[in-house]
């Protein structure tokens, strides 16, 4: 899958932007590799930058979708959404300048496809309940697909938050 590659890319990119702070490269690199499960090595030299990434990336959209998903699943989102907002709000202030949005568009793509899968499964379940379709297994399969892809989204988000936490701990 391409997600791991993208995470690798992100590791390198975060690392690249840290070159503004002299002498920090090695520490940050080690930290990021730790945070990303040792996958930051190949991503070096990517031309992306955290602030650009976070500016391009529509945080609200991700949060809204995740919130909707969670609400559908009956999870209380009040706390989680606050945490997410503050993390994303702080990130742009960490460094400046740069271009490229491949990671942002990848993440948006992931969110969109998770959302599409969830909508499809909802539609299948609704059709089944309304008697429009009698395809029990298809409905169950699309529900499982939606649940797995949502799990994947959550894992990607966890990794992002983890690496941000590592970064913020370093500044203290």
């Amino acid at each position: 899958m391409s997600f791991i590659n993208s995470l690798q890319g992100m590791g390198g990119n975060l690392f690249g932007s840290s070159k503004a702070i002299p002498g920090m490269d090695k520490d940050l690199k080690g930290m990021l590799e730790g945070a990303l499960g040792g996958e930051g090595k190949q991503g070096e030299g990517g031309g992306m930058d955290v602030s650009a990434l976070m500016n391009n990336f529509s945080v609200d959209k991700l949060q809204q979708t995740a919130k909707n998903q969670m609400e559908r699943m009956g999870i209380d989102t009040s706390g989680a959404s606050e945490t997410g907002r503050s993390i994303f709000a702080e990130l742009p202030q960490m460094s400046g300048g740069g271009g490229g949005d491949s990671f942002a568009s990848m993440l948006t793509g992931l969110v969109n496809s998770v959302d599409a899968k969830s909508k499809a499964s909802e539609q299948a379940a609704q059709d089944l309940m309304l008697g429009k379709s009698d395809n029990i297994h298809q409905a169950m399969i699309s529900m499982q697909e939606a649940s797995i892809s949502f799990d994947l989204l959550v894992q990607v988000r966890n990794k992002l938050v983890d690496s941000f936490k590592e970064l913020s701990r370093m500044q203290a």
């Binding site: 899968k117 297994h137 298809q138 499982q144 697909e145 797995i148 994947l152 894992q155 966890n158």
Partner: protein, 144 residues
Amino acid sequence: MNLIPGLQATASALDAERTRMNVVAENIANAFTTRDANGDPYKRKIVSFESVLANQGDVQSGRSAPLYKVQISGVTQDDTPGKIVYNPQHPDADEKGMVHMPNVESSREMVDLIISSRAYEANLQVARTSRQMAKQALTIGNKS
């Protein structure tokens, strides 16, 4: 995005088994039907499956093999003659009092029923297992 492996083929197989189950049910239901739309006794129906290419795959890079799904190739009639029983009171009896019964044998249909249900079960197990695989892969990053 196809996160759960094998689901496309499995879903088509489940569909096919559903159709087979429908046909078996139809056979059992019509085991004593002496008159169909054309006035003939009911003829037992047989489902046959065929595989169709669902996905060309990416053979050159070796990332995925071509994927074949199952689909119903046709529902055909079994034309073996049915039993002829003596029942002169029956409205469909001929002038000698003989009634042509359908060629459905309940025992054989029950066997088909069990085969179909077991095949459905096997495909459900495939779906469950591949979902489990995807779920386990997602736990790689978990701490402890």
